[in-house]
C-alpha cells in the first residue's frame, strides 16, 4: 500500500500536465452532457411504488380514474356564496373546465356540473334536474337553489361548505395532459376569477407537482448563495486566495462531473436530485480543505517547494481521503436499496458526485498546488496563527489528556445518550400538519389544501377497493350490505373519520326517490333485480363515465371513499387497523374481496411504514458497512469500534432531540441518517490518521503529544471541513421546498454535531483505549 501511495504521489506530479489535461477534457465532455439536464418533478418518487398499498392505489386509478384530479375552491369574503356574482363564477369556472382541452367532462363536479342533480320525489313520481343548469339571477331563484343545496347530502358540505362561505369544483384531466399544462390552466382560472371579494384555492397532485416544478429553478440562486457562504468560511480558515479558490475549483469540477454523469444516464433534476450538486460541492470543498491545511502546514516547516509539498500531502492524505470518500459513498450506496424513488435518485446523483470528488480532491488539488508559486511567508504565518479555534481545540485536547476530565467527557456522553433514548421514545412516524409535508404551511399550495380540507374534508381520502370475482358482482344486495356495514363501522369506531361514500348511498337515494321520498326508504333494496334496475336507471340519466368514479362500467369493481379529518400517523394506523379488523370478523361473501389502503391515506401509510422500517434498517446497514471499511482500512477491529461507537451515540442524540422537539419522522430522515453517518465518520478518520502519522514520524509512544498535535492541525481542518460542509448543506434551509429545507437543517445540524462530537469525544476515547493499531505501520 505504501509503495502504491509513493508511486501514485510521485506519478501525479511527474505527469501533472497530462493529469491536468485529462481533467480539462473530461470536464468539457461533462459540461457538454449538461444539455440533457431538465427539471421534472415526479410525485411517484415520493412513494414506495412496490408497496401493496400503492399497488391498490394504482388499481383504483386504473379502474376509477382520478390520476390528475384537482380541486378548485371559491371562497367569498363577505356574505355567503348565494349571491349572483359568486354563483356566476362557479358556473363560469365549470363551463371553462368543460371547454378545456384534456379535461374529462365526466369528472367535472360542481353545483353547476351536468352530473350533479336535484331530485324531488312525491307520490306520483320523481323529478330530476340539474342542480344549477344556469346561474340564478333573481333572489327567488337563489333562495330555491340554497334550499336545494341544504337538503342534498351529496352537495351540502361536499360542494358547498356548511358555513356557505365556499364552493368546491372538482375536475380530472386526462393522463395525456402534462402537469405543467394543468398547472398553467388552473393558474389562469385563478387569475381570471379571483377578485377583492373572492379567493380561489387550488389543490390536487398535479398542482403540487406544478408548484414543485416552479420552485426547482429557484435552487440555482441558492447555489450561488451557498458558494458565497462557503467562500467566507474558507477565507476565515485560510485568509488567502488559494485557500478559497482551490477548494471551490476542485469542488466545482466534482460537481460538474457528477451532474454530467447524472445527465448522461438520463436522470432529471427533481426536488431530491437537485440537492446532489449542493452536497457534492460542499463535500468536495470539505475534503479539499484538508489538503490546503496540510499544504500550509508543510510550507511553514519545510523548504517552500510546491512540488514537494504536493507529493508529501498526497502521500499523507491519500489514505484518509480515500477511506473518507469510501465511507461517504456508503451512505448513497445503502440508500439505493431504499424503495423510495426520491431517495434512490438522490443516492445515484450523490454517488456519481462522490466518485467525482475522488478526482477533484485527490488529483486536481495537489496537481494545481504543484503549479503554484510557494505562498508568501506572511500568508503561511496568517494561516498558522493561533486563533480562537485553535484555543478551543487545544482545550478539547486538554480534556482528553487529563484522566479525570476525559472520563467526565465519556460519562457525560453516555448520560446524554441515555436521555436521548427517552426522547426517541416520543418519536412518531409521519407528518402531522395538514397539507403536504413537501411544502411550507404558508405556501400557496398548503394554504389551499388547508382551506379545502377545513371546508370540505376531502383532502385526505382513504379508499377501500371492492373487487368482484366476476362482472355484475356489485349488483348484489348482500355485497352492498357488507359495504354498508363496513362504512358504518368505520364511521362509528374511528374518531377521525368524517364520512364515507360509495355506490351504497346512490342506491339508497334512488330507493327513497322511488318510494315517494320517504326517509325510512333510504335503504338498500332487498332484491338484486331492483338494484340492477336502479343502476340501469342511473346509467340512463348520465353520460358514459359519469359513474366511473364510484363503480366500474361492468359493475365488477366498486370503492368506498372514507374522508379522514387529518393524516396523523395515529389516525392512519387506526383506520387501517379497523378496516383489517372488520374484514377479518365480518367479511363472509365469496363474490367480492375488500382491499385496502388506497387514496392519499394509503400512500401516506405506505410511506410511514417504509420510513419506520428503513430508518432502523438503513442506520444499521450504513453503520455496519462503515465499521467494516474502518476495520479493513486500519487493519484493526478496535479502530472500527473507536470510530463507530461515538458516531452511533451522536445519531441517538440527534433522534433524541427530534423526539423532544416532536418532529415527525418523514422520508427525508432516511438520507439524513445515512449521509450523516457516512459523512460524519470523515472527521474521526482525519484525526485518527493524523495521530497515527505523528506517532510514526516521531517513532515514539507519545500518544498525548501526537493527539495534541493532531488536534491543533487536523482538528482545525476538521472544524473548517465540517463547518463548510454544514454551511453548504444548511443553505437548503432557504429552499421554498420544505422537504429540502428540512433535510438541509437536519443534515447540516447532524454533520456539525458530528464535528463537535468528534472533536470532544474522540480524543478522550483515544486516550482511554490507547489503541495499538495507531502504532502499526502496516495499517493504512
Amino acid at each position: 500500500m505504501r509503495r502504491f501511495i509513493h508511486w501514485f504521489s510521485h506519478g501525479l506530479i511527474r505527469y501533472r500536465y497530462g493529469f491536468l489535461g485529462v481533467c480539462f477534457i473530461v470536464s468539457a465532455f461533462f459540461a457538454f452532457q449538461l444539455r440533457h439536464l431538465s427539471f421534472k418533478t415526479n410525485l411517484g418518487d415520493f412513494y414506495p411504488l412496490k408497496h401493496p398499498y400503492l399497488k391498490i392505489q394504482n388499481r383504483l386509478i386504473e379502474i376509477f380514474g382520478g390520476l390528475n384530479q384537482v380541486y378548485i375552491a371559491i371562497e367569498v369574503k363577505e356574505a355567503d356564496v348565494f349571491n349572483p356574482v359568486t354563483l356566476d363564477k362557479v358556473w363560469n369556472i365549470t363551463q371553462d373546465l368543460y371547454l378545456t382541452e384534456g379535461i374529462n367532462p365526466n369528472r367535472v363536479v360542481s353545483i353547476s356540473a351536468r352530473k350533479v342533480k336535484h331530485v324531488e320525489a312525491d307520490e306520483e313520481g320523481f323529478k330530476t334536474e340539474w342542480l344549477m343548469h344556469d346561474p340564478p339571477k333573481t333572489a327567488e331563484e337563489i333562495k330555491v337553489l340554497k334550499q336545494r343545496v341544504i337538503v342534498n347530502p351529496m352537495v351540502f358540505g361536499i360542494l358547498v361548505s356548511k358555513d356557505f362561505k365556499a364552493c368546491l369544483i372538482q375536475a380530472d384531466f386526462e393522463s395525456s395532459v402534462g402537469v405543467r399544462k394543468i398547472f398553467q390552466i388552473l393558474q389562469e382560472i385563478k387569475k381570471k376569477y379571483e377578485d377583492q371579494n373572492h379567493n380561489i384555492y387550488i389543490s390536487g397532485q398535479p398542482v403540487l407537482q406544478g408548484w414543485l416544478d416552479a420552485y426547482l429553478p429557484k435552487m440555482a440562486s441558492l447555489f450561488i448563495l451557498t458558494v458565497l457562504a462557503m467562500s467566507l468560511v474558507l477565507y476565515n480558515a485560510f485568509k488567502s486566495k488559494r485557500g478559497v479558490l482551490l477548494p471551490l475549483l476542485s469542488a466545482a469540477m466534482s460537481t460538474l462531473w457528477g451532474l454530467g454523469i447524472t445527465a448522461m444516464f438520463g436522470y432529471k433534476i427533481t426536488p431530491s436530485t437537485v440537492l446532489a450538486p449542493f452536497l457534492v460541492f460542499a463535500l468536495g470543498t470539505s475534503h479539499a480543505v484538508q489538503y490546503i491545511k496540510r499544504y500550509y502546514e508543510y510550507m511553514s516547516k519545510h523548504k517552500r517547494d510546491s512540488k514537494a509539498a504536493a507529493i508529501k500531502i498526497t502521500r499523507n492524505l491519500f489514505v484518509p481521503a480515500f477511506i473518507g470518500l469510501l465511507t461517504d459513498g456508503i451512505g448513497p450506496f445503502t440508500l439505493f436499496f431504499v424503495p423510495l424513488g426520491m431517495v434512490k435518485s438522490l443516492a445515484v446523483a450523490i454517488g456519481f458526485g462522490i466518485l467525482s470528488i475522488f478526482f477533484g480532491t485527490i488529483i486536481l488539488v495537489p496537481n494545481l498546488l504543484s503549479f503554484m508559486k510557494p505562498p508568501r511567508r506572511l500568508e503561511v504565518i496568517k494561516e498558522e496563527k493561533t486563533t480562537l479555534t485553535n484555543r478551543i481545540l487545544a482545550y478539547f485536547a486538554r480534556l482528553a489528556v487529563n484522566k479525570k476530565s476525559r472520563w467526565t467527557v465519556i460519562c457525560g456522553f453516555f448520560v446524554l445518550s441515555f436521555i436521548a433514548l427517552l426522547g426517541m421514545s416520543k418519536l412518531e412516524v409521519g407528518d402531522k400538519k395538514p397539507g403536504t409535508s413537501l411544502l411550507y404551511g404558508r405556501s400557496p399550495y398548503n394554504q389551499a389544501e388547508r382551506f379545502i380540507s377545513e371546508k370540505f374534508a376531502t383532502s385526505d381520502p382513504y379508499y377501500i377497493f371492492v373487487e368482484g370475482k366476476e362482472q355484475d358482482a356489485i349488483l348484489n344486495n348482500a355485497v352492498l350490505k357488507e359495504m354498508d356495514s363496513l362504512q358504518r363501522y368505520l364511521e362509528k369506531e374511528v374518531k377521525s373519520v368524517g364520512r364515507t361514500l360509495s355506490i351504497v348511498e346512490y342506491m339508497k337515494g334512488m330507493n327513497m326517490a322511488m318510494f315517494d321520498g320517504k326517509r325510512q326508504e333510504f335503504c338498500i333494496p332487498d332484491s338484486d333485480r331492483t338494484i340492477a334496475e336502479y343502476m340501469f336507471l342511473y346509467s340512463l340519466t348520465g353520460f358514459p363515465g359519469d359513474f366511473d368514479p364510484v363503480v366500474s362500467p361492468n359493475y365488477q369493481y366498486a370503492n368506498i371513499k372514507v374522508d379522514l379529518k387529518d393524516h396523523r400517523a395515529a389516525s392512519i394506523n387506526e383506520v387501517i387497523k379497523r378496516t383489517e379488523e372488520w374484514i377479518k370478523n365480518n367479511h363472509r361473501l365469496k363474490e367480492v374481496e375488500f382491499y385496502y389502503a388506497g387514496g392519499n391515506i394509503g400512500m401516506l401509510a405506505a410511506v410511514n411504514q417504509i420510513v419506520g422500517e428503513q430508518l432502523k434498517l438503513n442506520s444499521l446497514f450504513v453503520s455496519g458497512l462503515v465499521f467494516f471499511c474502518l476495520v479493513f482500512a486500519y487493519g484493526s477491529l478496535v479502530s472500527g469500534w473507536l470510530l463507530i461507537i461515538p458516531l452511533v451515540f451522536r445519531t441517538l442524540l440527534v433522534f433524541g432531540i427530534l423526539g423532544f422537539l416532536k418532529v415527525g419522522l418523514t422520508a427525508e430522515m432516511i438520507p439524513m441518517v445515512a449521509l450523516g453517518i457516512g459523512f460524519g465518520d470523515d472527521f474521526g478518520i482525519y484525526i485518527v490518521s493524523r495521530v497515527k502519522d505523528e506517532l510514526l514520524e516521531k517513532g515514539g509512544d507519545d500518544l498525548k503529544g501526537a493527539l495534541v498535535k493532531a488536534m491543533s492541525t487536523s482538528g482545525k481542518a476538521v472544524f473548517f471541513t465540517g463547518l463548510s460542509l454544514s454551511v453548504g448543506i444548511a443553505a437548503w434551509m432557504l429552499s421554498p421546498i420544505l422537504m429540502q429545507a428540512r433535510l438541509g437543517a437536519l443534515l447540516g445540524f447532524f454533520i456539525f454535531f458530528n464535528v463537535i462530537g468528534t472533536l470532544i469525544v474522540l480524543p478522550s476515547m483515544i486516550m482511554t483505549v490507547n489503541p495499538q493499531f495507531l502504532r502499526n505501520i502496516k495499517g493504512g
Binding site: F126, T128, A532, F536, G542, P544, N554
Partner: protein, 293 residues
C-alpha cells in the same frame, strides 16, 4: 323601387317560413337545389322524427365502447305512434322497453307535444318493484339513455332552436363506421349546413351538418364548442323503406363519438316496421305496466 325590393324580400321570407312551418305530417318531402338552409332543415327534422310515417317499431341494440375497448350493451324494443294532433297538442308517443337480461321488462313511455315549449311527459316502469313513476323529462343537454349524444340530438331539438346557414354543397367524404368498419356515403352529394343554437351559452357553439341531397336526411354532423374545438361527431345511416308506394328514409345506424373522452356509442336499429296500424291504446301507462318480456 326600394319598397318593391323590400316587399319582395318579405314575401320571399314569409313563403320560406311558411314552407318551413307547414310541412304536413304523413307526407314525404325531398330537398332540391335552390332551397334555402331553413327549407332543407325543415325537411331534415321531418325525417329525423319520422313524421312521414303513422307509426314505427324497431328493435335496437346499443353498444357503449370506452377508449380501452370495453363494451357495454343495452337492448331495447321501441315503438312510436305519430299523431300530429293539434286538438290535444300531442305530436307523438314513444314506448321503449329494455330487454337486456337483468332489466328485462323495464320500460319508459314518453308523450311529446306539438308545442315546442311544452315539456314532454315521461313514465318509467320498474318490474321488480311493480311500480310506475312519473319522471321529469331530461334536459335537452342531458345524455340520451346514457349514450354519448344528447337528448336533443335524438328527441328534443326542434327546428326553432337554431339558425341555419347553407355553407356549400359537396360530395361527402365518407364515414368509416367503427362498429362494422364499413364506409358509408362516400361521394354522396350533400348540403353542408351550419347550425347555430339560439340559446347562448350552450354546450355547443355550432354544428356542421351534412344533409343527403337525395333524401334530406342529416347523415353526419360535427359539433364545435365555444373555443372552436370539434368535440363530437354523430353519424346516421338511413335506409329507404318502401311502404304503400312511399319511400321512407329510416335511421338504421346511429354512431356518436365524444372526441374528449374517446367514448363511442353505436345504436343499431333492426326489425324496422312502418305504418303497421299501431293503436294509440298501446301507448298508455297501463300497457307499459303490462309489458311482458
Amino acid at each position: 323601387m326600394k319598397k318593391a325590393v323590400l316587399f319582395l324580400s318579405i314575401l320571399l321570407f314569409l313563403s320560406s317560413y311558411a314552407l318551413a312551418t307547414e310541412l304536413e305530417y304523413f307526407k314525404v318531402y325531398r330537398p332540391h337545389d335552390g332551397m334555402s338552409a331553413d327549407q332543407i332543415m325543415e325537411i331534415e327534422y321531418h325525417i329525423k322524427y319520422t313524421k312521414f310515417a303513422k307509426d314505427a317499431s324497431f328493435g335496437g341494440k346499443a353498444y357503449f365502447v370506452d377508449k380501452s375497448g370495453f363494451v357495454r350493451e343495452k337492448e331495447t324494443f321501441r315503438k312510436r305512434i305519430t299523431l300530429g294532433r293539434k286538438s290535444d297538442d300531442i305530436a307523438y308517443k314513444d314506448l321503449v322497453i329494455f330487454i337486456s337480461p337483468q332489466v328485462k321488462g323495464m320500460g319508459t313511455l314518453t308523450w311529446t307535444y306539438m308545442d315546442a315549449k311544452r315539456q314532454p311527459d315521461s313514465w318509467i316502469w320498474l318490474p321488480s318493484l311493480k311500480r310506475i313513476r312519473k319522471i321529469s323529462s331530461a334536459n335537452s343537454d342531458d345524455s340520451f339513455l346514457g349514450a354519448d349524444f344528447t337528448v336533443e340530438d335524438i328527441l328534443l331539438r326542434r327546428f326553432e332552436d337554431e339558425t341555419y346557414t347553407l355553407l356549400r354543397t359537396e360530395n361527402f367524404g365518407g364515414y368509416l363506421c367503427e362498429f362494422d368498419k364499413k364506409t358509408y356515403y362516400q361521394g354522396r352529394p350533400c348540403f353542408v349546413i351550419e347550425c347555430k343554437p339560439k340559446r347562448s351559452p350552450w354546450y355547443y357553439a355550432k354544428r356542421i351538418l351534412w344533409v343527403d341531397k337525395n333524401t334530406g336526411a342529416g347523415i353526419y354532423e360535427e359539433k364545435y364548442d365555444a373555443t372552436g374545438r370539434k368535440f363530437m361527431t354523430l353519424f346516421k345511416n338511413f335506409e329507404i323503406f318502401n311502404v304503400d308506394g312511399k319511400a321512407y328514409p329510416v335511421q338504421t345506424i346511429i354512431e356518436g363519438k365524444d372526441l374528449r373522452t374517446g367514448h363511442r356509442t353505436t345504436i343499431i336499429n333492426t326489425d324496422i316496421k312502418l305504418d303497421q296500424g299501431l293503436s294509440e291504446e298501446e301507448f298508455t301507462q297501463r300497457t307499459l305496466m303490462m309489458s311482458r318480456w
